[in-house]
Amino acid sequence: MRAAVIVFPGTNREKDIAEALERASGKKAQFVWHGDSDLPDVDLIVVPGGFSYGDYLRCGAMAGNSPVMRAVKQKADAGVRVLGVCNGFQILTETGLLPGVLMRNAQLKFICKKATLTVQNSDSDFSSAYSEGQRVVFPVAHNEGNYFADDATLDRLEGEDRVVFRYADADGTVNKAGNINGSQRNIAGILNEKRNVLGMMPHPENATDPAQGGTDGLGLFKSLAEVLQ
């Protein structure tokens, strides 16, 4: 697996992602600075979390229009796997690689805690190491994680099995009580139409070592390492 991790001014989870990738694949990822318009020859691009460009205007809006994201879009169109976590998910929606938008949390509070999710779909390069319906715990840390799209888009996402993770209660049941940020239909992570781009708000990279309090996130990186060798 040859992976590149994109770094914007304000990105802060790039090292967590790189360490998680190395834990799962044994290989080091390369960091790519946002001003670069050429990407190295890789088979996975990760857009990590943080506060790119200070979250000015809208989360991900500035980064979504940066030269490096135009290059990422081209790679994604060519089939390269792209993973966006937290601010990375916001950037992928602003770039147009994923539908919808991440709005301010319904409770207007920054949420920093461990969230219970269910793996809705294990039929993807990002989730094949999990079983369908598996309950996993990933940390979340966001102020704008409230997934919004119109009903037609949501129906399409569900109809095409593109919802990979949903927020759930402690028992792993998808319900209103488990919906920490008000996301439509409890959506925490979705795929693009071609299934090579995944965006998600929770942080699997911060659940890949017992010292982090859990290893549920390792499966996501192992899924990718398995497919991409």
């Binding site: 539908p99 938008v101 319904a106 919004f148 008000g182």
Partner: protein, 80 residues
């Protein structure tokens, strides 16, 4: 020329900040507040030959960066 862009959430899109303001106004004793929506205003000083050209330029800016059409509407006002 000066362009003022007003960006608001589309109707039907939940606006928790607007709701919080609405509740706060109620708590302060203001009566008759039916609904509050929060948006943002962007002022742009720009060079353009005439107002029509300016408006077309700002509209392009809104489509590409200033507003997110999934959840936001915008209006443009041009003044000399």
């Amino acid at each position: 020329m000066k362009a003022t862009v007003t960006i608001t959430l589309k109707s039907g899109v939940l606006d928790p900040q607007g709701k919080a303001i609405e509740h706060a106004l109620g708590a302060l004793g203001f009566q008759g507040v039916n609904d509050v929506r929060q948006g943002k205003v962007i002022e742009i000083d720009l060079d353009a030959a005439d107002p029509t050209t300016a408006e077309a330029l700002v509209k392009d800016m809104c489509g590409k960066l200033l507003a997110n059409p999934v959840i936001e509407d915008y209006s443009i006002e041009i003044s000399a």
